[in-house]
């Protein structure tokens, strides 16, 4: 869990400074919309995945760095989203995923 403390706090620091003022519910709602627009076709309507593509609800609170990395750079058949999604949008999707995660 605490394997990459530097990376995690860096990522956390980045989003707290850009969105500390944002209302969390509004952020989750915005994340749901971004997810539905860009991610649902591969990761399932409303995050409901039958697991053939990575089930995003498996992501744990400590994996913000992993999330940032995969979403911006891509991985195998996961396309890179750098330049398409803003940092705020990525953060909102993260909050939406976390709000629906298996492990809160």
């Amino acid at each position: 869990m605490k394997i990459f403390p530097a990376l995690t706090s860096l990522a956390l620091g980045a989003f707290i400074s850009t969105s500390a003022a944002a209302d969390d519910a509004a952020m989750i709602e915005a994340g749901a919309e971004t997810f539905s627009t860009y991610c649902a076709t591969c990761h399932g309507n409303n995050l409901e995945s039958s697991g053939q593509t990575f089930d995003l609800r498996k992501l744990r609170a400590s994996e913000r760095g992993r999330f940032q990395n995969s979403v911006t750079k891509g991985k195998n058949q996961m396309p890179p989203w750098q330049g398409v999604l803003s940092e705020d949008e990525i953060e909102s999707v993260w909050r939406y995923i976390r709000a629906n995660a298996y492990e809160k």
């Binding site: 649902a40 076709t41 399932g44 309507n45 409303n46 039958s50 053939q52 891509g74 058949q77 989203w81």
Partner: protein, 566 residues
């Protein structure tokens, strides 16, 4: 850069001239046209240009089908959906996925060649419905396929060597276009469609010279300013109008017409594009040499529900008012089974073949659906419950038609939805998402344990002679033989044979992944074989979250079955 070794024009010209001569004896237009009657090979998508998926073979029959066993299987080394239609020629089976084309020995399953087609990862941002490819065409010794990044590539059928590689002119992933469908070669022209109505494309159908790859024509599905039909789009809405053509069509050599289904308007949210939105959700009949549109028939005007008319129109001569008539039949996503005169597109029948509430029949004079209150409320932005869902009563999975028993064999999706179109989206642009995110919906079931049926349907009435329920809808295509066997695959991996007369399950084999593929049958040295790909993926598996599919393993493979030799 990728494919660099085959891009020098001089070298390319030299190669295709030689290959053209070497392969000229095989898979001619005449061979392709009579494919359905030559079961020693499978040369055309749909098991013949009419797309009937019917085989005259009878060696495997109701009495011995229990002895059907795997002869070999071949790994595609991939975990995405295996939706391709395999071809059989030269003693080899050819198949594809999103990234490779392979040839394997038809009797042993040993790989003969494999070509990999790398593509830029960004293209996957605009893939709406699975990271897939639905197969290749074969013509005069060449295997021809499309790629996600809009290339059409011809390979020497014997060696896999790339003979030509062309890009669809002027389009790109940045503007939302991709290709997943199998080309259809008709009269020497490789007809190809595009995907991207979920990303604001202006759709079209186009033709390439199947010998050289030369681009011959393009027929747009959304009319530009000044063209007929343009007035059916409010304001500038036509600019991102959609109208893809992502599922392969059929061909009638006698009429010299290619029949092709056209996809949904973009965005899904209809409120900013008032009007019929021609020529989205239509069946086209075009001349293969020129692309001239001889007739069209629109199935769902001003569509809020992603009711693509992309199902392959199946050509057959059937009895209409007691007279034989050449028709095209389409089990449309919107829930109606259409029968149209193949020569002129005249509507002959349109009947519901599963539950629907957006329309109450079709006006036989105008050909327009009699839309219900629910439909009108949906257009007005109200929250409504609609059958079928955006996935449709069918999706891309193909039906089969038996000229012997007169029925269509349709894998039906039995799922509804709540639906609401909020304020229409602003800032639409080609290449930006125009699908899922533009409406709000949830899934509705009658019975959570029955989300699909395999039905034997009478074309003229839409009535089912028999109907077999499935826990998840089948996204496999069907195939029917003269021995009255229907073959299909199940999302949880079973490959099945059913009695075409009764629907009784006669045989089932558990493949290692879910099946979303297309069964074919062929013969060699007096023995009949059945071939299909296994490998879950595609739109339903990725998007639905169907609990019945949790933990169904991924992994694409190609399978061939034959009767057990004592």
């Amino acid at each position: 850069m990728k494919r660099s070794s085959f891009t020098a024009p001089l070298y390319l010209a030299g190669v295709f001239t030689l290959a053209g001569i070497a392969g000229a004896a095989a898979q001619t237009t005449a061979d392709l046209n009579k494919d359905q009657n030559t079961p020693g090979d499978v040369l055309v998508y749909g098991m013949g240009p009419h797309g009937q998926r019917y085989s005259p073979l009878t060696r495997i029959n109701k009495d011995n089908v229990k002895r059907l066993v795997p002869k070999w299987s071949y790994s595609m080394s991939d975990s995405n959906g295996a939706e391709a239609f395999p071809l059989v020629a030269n003693g080899m089976i050819y198949t594809t996925n999103h990234i490779s084309t392979v040839a394997v020995d038809a009797l042993t399953g040993k790989q003969v060649w494999k070509v990999t087609h790398d593509y830029p990862p960004e293209i996957l941002r605009i893939v709406c419905c699975g990271i897939v490819n639905r197969g290749a065409a074969i013509y005069e010794g060449k295997i021809i396929r499309s790629t996600l990044d809009n290339h059409l590539i011809a390979m020497d059928a014997k060696t896999g060597k790339v003979v030509w590689n062309v890009q669809s002119p002027g389009i790109s992933a940045e503007t939302g276009y991709s290709m997943t469908g199998a080309p259809l070669v008709a009269d020497g022209v490789a007809v190809v469609g595009v995907a991207g109505a979920e990303f604001g494309i202006r759709g079209f159908l186009e033709g390439f010279d199947a010998a050289t790859g030369k681009h011959l024509w393009r027929q747009y599905t959304v009319p530009a300013a000044g063209e007929p039909g343009h007035e059916t789009w409010a304001g500038d809405s036509f600019k991102v109008g959609g109208g893809s053509s992502w599922v392969t069509g059929s061909y009638d050599p006698e009429l010299d017409l290619v029949f092709w289904g056209i996809g949904n308007p973009a965005p899904w949210n209809p409120r900013g594009r008032k009007g019929d939105n021609l020529f989205t959700n239509s069946v086209f009949a075009v001349r293969p040499k020129t692309g001239e549109r001889v007739w069209y028939y629109q199935t769902s005007p001003e569509d809020p529900f992603d009711y693509d008319a992309v199902q392959t129109p199946v050509v057959a001569t059937i009895k209409v008012e007691n007279k034989p008539r050449k028709v095209v039949m389409q089990a449309n996503r919107n829930g109606f089974l259409y029968v149209l005169d193949a020569a002129n597109g005249k509507l002959l029948a349109a009947n519901a073949y599963d539950k629907m509430n957006w329309a109450d029949g079709v006006d036989m004079k105008t050909g327009r659906p009699n839309t219900t209150e629910s439909f009108k409320k949906a257009l007005a932005g109200e929250n409504v419950t609609i059958w079928p869902s955006v996935t449709g009563s069918t999706n891309w999975q193909h039906m089969a038609y038996s000229p012997k028993n007169g029925n269509l064999f349709i894998n039906v999706i039995h799922v509804g939805m709540t639906y609401q179109a909020p304020e229409p989206p602003k800032n639409l642009a080609m290449g930006k998402p125009t699908g899922n995110g533009t409406v709000k919906r949830t899934t509705v079931y009658d019975d959570p344990n029955v989300l699909g049926f395999l039905k034997a349907v009478d074309p003229m009435t839409g009535k089912a002679k028999w109907s077999v329920p499935y826990k998840s809808p089948n996204f496999s295509s069907t195939m029917v033989t003269a021995s009255d066997l229907v073959f299909t695959g199940v999302m949880t991996g079973e490959f099945q044979a059913l009695d075409a007369k009764t629907g009784k399950l006669l045989w089932s084999f558990q493949t290692p992944s879910g099946i979303v593929g297309q069964p074919i049958t062929w013969e060699k040295d007096g023995k009949q074989y059945v071939t299909i790909m296994s490998g879950i993926g595609g739109v339903y598996a990725m998007r639905s979250g169907d609990p019945n599919l949790v933990n169904v393993p991924t992994g694409a493979s190609l399978w061939t079955f034959g009767l057990f030799d004592k």
